[in-house]
């Protein structure tokens, strides 16, 4: 197994964690994702100490919920993102985070390999589309995901009227979708 992010077979590592409680597989997942989760929390406005603590909690959840990871529905990055986002809501706002029914990513049977590969390819395309967005649109997406900002707060911060912000986010999304199609 290479440590290169493009080469690592994350679904396989997660299977080892799920089936064998394999600590070496977890160490590999941790080495790759823990620094990213910590950065994500800090970009959301958490200080380093709190981000470290919250990250450990997120990674422990990755271990405990390994059986719920379904690689045909989300890449490991996406799945860990949802865990980090939920933990961020709990920790920063002390809100509960209602989740949709039946989003227990739990596959009873193994996911078909072609679905797993197709999803990974699509997600790679999404990452590339995101990287190629013009700076202004890129900014708005980052604000939407990392700021604790509602649309009206974004308007106040950038001095732009609400309608413009909404249509720009929409345009950014249309572009993302287009790039993925």
């Amino acid at each position: 197994m290479s440590s290169d992010q493009g080469q690592t077979n994350w679904p396989l590592q997660m299977e080892k964690i799920r089936d064998a409680r394999d600590e070496a597989a977890f160490a590999a997942v941790f080495a790759h994702f823990a620094p990213r989760v910590k950065a994500f929390l800090m970009r959301s406005g958490t200080d380093a100490a709190m981000a470290e603590e919250c990250m450990q909690d997120v990674m422990a959840t990755v271990w405990h919920k390994a059986h719920l990871f379904d690689p045909s529905r989300a890449t490991l990055s996406t799945w860990i993102f949802t865990i980090a986002r939920n933990r961020k809501t709990d920790m920063l706002r002390r809100d509960r985070r209602p989740e949709p029914e039946d989003l227990t990513w739990g596959p009873e049977a193994e996911a078909p390999q072609e679905d797993v590969i197709a999803l990974q390819q699509e997600t790679t395309k999404l990452g590339q589309a995101l990287a190629m967005l013009p700076a202004k649109q890129r900014d708005l997406i980052e604000k939407a995901y990392f700021g604790d900002l509602s649309h009206s707060e974004i308007a106040a911060e950038t001095g732009l009227p609400l309608g413009t912000i909404k249509s720009r986010i929409r345009m950014a999304l249309d572009r993302l979708r287009h790039a993925m199609g």
Partner: protein, 212 residues
């Protein structure tokens, strides 16, 4: 389930994915997504955007990071909340009610209308509305955004006809008079980020009392 006509907006789904909505709005989004495969697919797309952003940046860890995480894992898994199944209330709503539709503690809120406020953080309000078949909810406008998700029966207003699973996204400018269909009583989940303003005098006086 497949004939849902009124959906969430992209910006609400994106904000839900990003985790920036008030709790009451999260509840309405989670409830609609529980009933709507289309919005669920869009939401999974936005989660993938979040995953792509997660991939981009790294921060150095504390020296004992992995050891501490393994110690945390050793303390055991947190208890998992059981998902309730109810024919009317989607899982996340049943979770807030603490049971199925029969467990809702209704309070009168005008003629033919009952409501139950759900316990969310105060930045926005979530409540269940029970509107008797054929009854009109008093004409009201509102200052912020209002989401109304139909859970049973149906209603009509200036924007159209809304059935189970349909969600009305009403912004500030909209003044509307929802009327429940004759036949079944209508049950909705309604979420607002600002108090409603009723036009007729009596509901306005009643407003502080009923928190609507």
């Amino acid at each position: 389930m497949t004939d849902i006509k009124h959906h969430l907006t992209d910006s609400l789904l994106m904000a839900y994915s990003a985790g920036t909505l008030p709790e009451a709005f999260n509840l309405a989004v989670a409830a609609h997504v529980s009933l709507c495969a289309d919005c669920r697919a869009t939401l999974e797309g936005f989660d993938a955007v979040g995953g792509a952003l997660l991939d981009e940046a790294r921060e150095p860890l504390a020296d004992d990071s992995l050891a501490k995480t393994m110690a945390l894992i050793g303390q055991g898994a947190p208890a998992v909340r059981q998902i309730r199944v109810d024919p009317v209330l989607p899982g996340p709503v049943a979770d807030y009610v603490g049971g199925g539709i029969e467990a809702v503690r209704w309070r009168p809120a005008g003629i033919g209308v009952r409501q139950a406020i759900l316990p969310t953080s105060s930045s926005a309000t979530a409540r269940l509305l029970h509107i008797k078949a054929g009854v009109a909810v008093p004409d009201h406008g509102h200052r912020g955004t209002e989401l109304t998700l139909v859970l049973q029966g149906a209603f009509s207003d200036e924007d159209g006809h809304f059935k189970r699973g349909d969600i009305e996204v009403a912004t500030e400018a909209v003044e509307h008079t929802p009327i429940a269909d004759t036949g079944d009583d209508c049950i909705c989940l309604a979420v607002t980020d600002a108090p409603l303003r009723f036009k007729s005098l009596i509901p306005r006086l009643a407003q502080p009392l009923f928190r609507i």
